[in-house]
């Protein structure tokens, strides 16, 4: 095997490792559309990064974070339902990203790789970033596990029992933005949510505790990365969509297993 396959595999495994537990929160808290919105805004982040000649990883994290903050503010004003707000922001961000990229005529930006990922162009520097971010995310998730579960079960009960709900929610948003920034390289902005929720939904069927579900989602996500890369290697299909397709196949197979609890 050549280096680029190995790098791609390692990058995919690193992202899958954290996509498991984070994906569980996305499923439990019904944040799939929210995840989509942040992912779409990451495209705008990349476009602005190219435009302003700043590190792309920074803008691809910062714009989704700003988007999450804006959402919280709009939600509190109660102008529209969250669903509608997400619909507006999600697609506006995607459109804005596409327009800005098309305006950058002098810089060649590979739009397809941004939208659907480019696992095989991972460099050793990317690997450092992915594993660094994944490490930070795992530490945060581990340290804040109980309060995170508590605000997921019921935020008011958690608040009365002394959990700083706002802080924990903000950390969860930060984690989501970070994971989106590293997952973009693997599956692209359009497929990130799939990488988060499909392994978690698969793991749900064979888990009876939240921890089990998070761990199993990680393992399943890693398995789909391996299978997806193999599929991509043998058929020459793009890697990102191959990973998501394998993920969906595993989920379909899991439907035949009787749910445990």
């Amino acid at each position: 095997m050549t280096d680029f396959i190995l790098y791609g595999l390692l990058a995919g495994l690193g992202v899958a490792l954290v996509a498991g537990p984070l994906g569980c929160f996305v499923v439990w808290r019904r944040m799939a559309y929210f995840g989509d919105t942040l992912a779409h805004s990451a495209l705008l982040g990349v476009a602005l990064g190219v435009l302003l000649e700043v590190n792309l990883s920074i803008t691809a994290t910062a714009i989704p974070l700003a988007m999450a903050l804006g959402l919280v503010i709009l939600e509190q004003r109660g102008v529209l339902s969250v669903d509608t707000l997400l619909g507006i922001l999600s697609h506006s961000a995607l459109a804005a990203g596409l327009v800005v990229i098309s305006l950058l005529s002098d810089v060649r930006v590979d739009l397809m790789s941004l939208l659907f990922g480019d696992l095989l162009s991972v460099t050793s520097q990317d690997l450092w970033i992915i594993y660094g971010v994944a490490g930070v995310v795992l530490i945060l998730l581990g340290a804040l596990w109980r309060p995170l579960i508590n605000i997921t079960v019921d935020s008011e009960l958690a608040a009365v029992e002394g959990t700083n709900v706002r802080l924990i929610r903000a950390v969860l948003m930060l984690i989501t933005a970070l994971v989106i920034a590293i997952a973009m390289k693997i599956v692209g902005v359009l497929l990130i949510t799939a990488l988060l929720i499909i392994p978690a939904a698969t793991a749900r069927r064979i888990s009876i505790t939240p921890e089990q579900m998070a761990a199993k989602a990680s393992v399943i996500a890693m398995l789909t990365v391996v299978l997806g890369l193999a599929l991509s290697w043998t058929t020459d299909a793009p890697a990102g969509p191959s990973v998501v397709l394998c993920s969906a196949l595993l989920f379909t197979m899991s439907l035949m297993v009787r749910q445990r609890a």
Partner: protein, 253 residues
């Protein structure tokens, strides 16, 4: 008499110009059960949220004793079916040991459900789990928002008895919201009849003789709200001539 655990003094709260609570003052004292009654939309839940510290009043003060530890039993709790969690694990989330969780489950009579996924519990079982979680941290103030919602009549009686005996053994203050007047009256030390303002308050036997109470709830044991007064668009209480009037025991202006 011991000093109160929590004192609310002349609380006002309005949402987008609508007065929900006006001039509410009350004391919650160790060992006393306070029941909050009143029609739908009277501001009961808003008052509870202020006591819990989830909501800040527009004016007035909330003074809590330094030792205050709240146990809260929400009206109901929906846990997403995608979250795999057993009853025992749910209790453990309140940061309690194995021992404490199991004795709490046993004291509400559902020790056998420890391993059951929480989404599979019946309405009555779920209320008991919520009660168990509320008493886990040995609170000195127990706040119960309509604790028997969705429970059949027999279960309601049992649950009220349980709340009474648990609060006695914990020697805590209880603030309880209820619709079921006839069931709670006997177990209550202080009744507050709320309709944006405090219509009347006192011991149950006083309150049931209070004209303001009788006007609202009638003579029957069944819960029925007969309005003795009109409300202005701002929620101000007016009598039939459109003038603000007070129930007996009302001391606000």
């Amino acid at each position: 008499m011991t000093s109160p655990l929590m004192t609310l003094d002349r609380i006002d709260k309005s949402f987008s110009g609508q007065h929900v609570l006006q001039n509410i003052s009350l004391n919650l004292t160790q060992g006393e059960i306070t029941t909050l009654i009143g029609p739908n939309g009277a501001g009961k839940s808003t008052l509870v949220r202020i006591v819990l510290g989830l909501l800040a009043p527009d004016s007035g003060s909330v003074t809590a004793s330094k030792s205050l530890k709240i146990g809260y039993m929400p009206q109901k709790l929906h846990i997403d079916p995608t979250l795999p969690i057993s009853t025992y694990r749910f209790l453990q989330l309140a940061n309690a040991s194995y021992q404490v969780c199991h004795s709490a489950l046993a004291s509400v009579g559902i020790a056998h459900l420890a391993k059951t996924p929480i989404q599979k519990l019946s309405g009555g079982e779920m209320q008991r789990v919520l009660l168990a979680r509320a008493i886990l941290r040995k609170p000195n103030l127990l706040v119960l928002d309509e604790p028997v919602q969705g429970v059949d009549i027999n279960g309601q009686n049992a649950l009220y008895k349980m709340i009474g005996s648990l609060s006695k053994s914990l020697n805590c203050a209880v603030l309880m919201v209820s619709h079921d007047l006839h069931l709670v009256m006997s177990a209550t030390d202080q009744v507050i009849c709320l309709n944006h303002h405090i219509c009347c308050q006192g011991r149950p036997e006083q309150v049931t003789k209070d004209p303001a109470y009788l006007d609202i709830f009638g003579q029957t044991a069944l819960y029925a709200h007969h309005h003795d007064h009109q409300h202005s668009v701002h929620g101000e209480v007016l009598d039939r001539n459109g003038v603000h009037r007070h129930g007996e025991g009302c001391d606000h202006d």
